[in-house]
């Protein structure tokens, strides 16, 4: 780290973590509808681009994005989402930070790609779904019969996970692009970006 983060940076990280976490939680409510639970990462990716891009206007040092990932992971952990989000968010945020650094924290292209990567961290929240999958399958087998499970099973396999990854990434890019437009439309004109 070339430049240490100061109090202002740390508070900025905290405030924007809250915004993104609250958005994820609000859309996470939809996750209680079982099927939509799978769509949570996509929804989150679509929505978080706007705050993320605004956050980046206040970032010029390496470490802030990584730290935000870590903080979000910790808050997810403390609110009962297992420890996995800490790992996924931190790793994804670190890669996002590196991408931003390559663009000297000023390249728009890098900013958009970094959001795509950053938001993949949310896959850590999906863990319950995959844990439950096995339990689900065995329970289904007894009550619904083998045939049913054999039809459903392929949809719950790893290729779904892979598709989800790709979709989340793509939605992350789209939403960051929208975020950039919103920045122009609102925040730059309001004099805060």
């Amino acid at each position: 780290m070339s430049e240490r983060l100061n109090v202002k940076d740390l508070i900025t990280v905290g405030i924007f973590s809250v915004i993104i976490i609250v958005l994820i939680f609000i859309f996470g409510m939809l996750g209680y509808v079982p099927i939509l639970m799978i769509a949570l990462p996509i929804l989150a990716a679509l929505i978080c681009g706007i705050p993320y891009m605004l956050f980046l206007t206040r970032v010029s040092k390496f470490g802030m994005v990584t730290l935000m990932g870590l903080i979000m992971g910790i808050v997810m952990f403390l609110s009962g989402h297992t420890w996995v989000p800490i790992v996924t968010f931190t790793v994804c945020a670190f890669i996002a930070d590196c991408i931003l650094k390559m663009g000297n924290y000023s390249s728009i292209k890098n900013a958009i790609i970094s959001h795509g990567v950053f938001i993949i961290g949310i896959m850590g929240n999906m863990l319950p779904f995959f844990i439950l999958k096995d339990a689900f399958m065995s329970a289904m087998r007894t009550s619904m019969g083998n045939d049913y499970v054999n039809v459903v099973a392929p949809f719950l396999q790893t290729n779904v996970l892979f598709v989800l990854f790709v979709l989340t990434f793509i939605c992350g890019l789209i939403s960051a692009y929208i975020g950039k437009l919103v920045l122009k439309k609102h925040f730059e004109r309001a004099g805060i970006a």
């Binding site: 983060l5 100061n6 109090v7 202002k8 740390l10 508070i11 900025t12 990280v13 905290g14 405030i15 924007f16 973590s17 809250v18 915004i19 976490i21 609250v22 079982p34 929505i47 706007i50 705050p51 605004l54 206040r58 730290l67 935000m68 870590l70 903080i71 910790i74 808050v75 952990f77 403390l78 609110s79 009962g80 989402h81 297992t82 420890w83 319950p128 844990i131 439950l132 339990a135 689900f136 329970a139 289904m140 007894t142 009550s143 619904m144 919103v182 609102h186 925040f187 309001a190 805060i192």
Partner: protein
């Protein structure tokens, strides 16, 4: 309150227990192990003035478990799928969600910072995490206030507004983000004038020490995880 137990546990203990419980949800384990992880959040909540939440939690859990054991093996149809979803989510995820709820509701910012600093967690982590706890209530207050403003202009949850969900997102997002920027500036300025940037190690009014409850709960949960590991890999280890 009928009795004075003075129950409180250290934030570090809460976090360790949370980690242990979240580790244990990965596999199905026999009742005598899962019982421990189910009862810890119950007792924590029950002894710290969240009696109602504790009772609702334990009842939900018992019903879910009962469904799982007695009814589901023979059930079929759509209802079965709904019940399966309910019972498995409840039995697996509820304990950790309740432990998380307990941790967040009963930890003061100052107490959290104190105990984290005792474990040498750097300011770079404690400051943003404290800001998160402090700012979450404000955000919800803002959301309520914006909802009110939208209602007065005829954009409640009505047909008119559902036609353009993107507009709704924009209407909520812009005021919230603008106030986020403002808050982060003003809070930073206020914190600086109160010496938050002092490089010296902070001191704390509240002395965080492990007490008998900490040791008790830690011992129970560590015993739990030991049995759990033995159950999963024990055979292999001995063989």
């Amino acid at each position: 309150m009928g009795f004075e137990l003075n129950f409180s546990i250290d934030p570090r203990t809460k976090i360790i227990i949370l980690a242990i419980i979240s580790f244990m949800v990965f596999n199905d384990v026999p009742m005598y192990v899962s019982g421990i992880l189910v009862l810890i959040p119950f007792f924590c909540l029950f002894f710290s003035d969240y009696k109602k939440a504790a009772v609702i939690y334990i009842l939900t859990y018992v019903i879910a478990k009962y469904l799982q054991i007695t009814i589901l093996p023979n059930a079929t149809g759509i209802l079965a799928i709904v019940l399966i979803t309910f019972s498995y989510t409840a039995t697996r995820m509820l304990p950790i969600l309740m432990m998380g709820y307990y941790t967040i509701m009963t930890t003061k910012v100052s107490e959290f910072i104190a105990s984290m600093e005792k474990s040498n967690v750097p300011k770079d982590i404690t400051i943003p995490v404290s800001v998160v706890f402090r700012y979450i209530p404000s955000v919800f207050e803002e959301i309520r206030s914006i909802t009110k403003a939208m209602k007065m202009r005829g954009f409640g949850l009505t047909f008119k507004s559902l036609k353009s969900p993107l507009k709704m997102v924009e209407f909520y997002m812009i005021p919230i983000l603008i106030s986020a920027v403002k808050t982060s500036d003003e809070l930073s300025a206020a914190s600086l004038t109160r010496g938050l940037s002092n490089p010296k190690k902070r001191t704390n009014l509240i002395s965080v020490e492990f007490n008998k409850f900490d040791y008790l709960f830690l011992a129970i949960s560590i015993a739990g995880i030991a049995v759990y590991i033995y159950y999963l890999y024990g055979g292999a280890l001995i063989a």
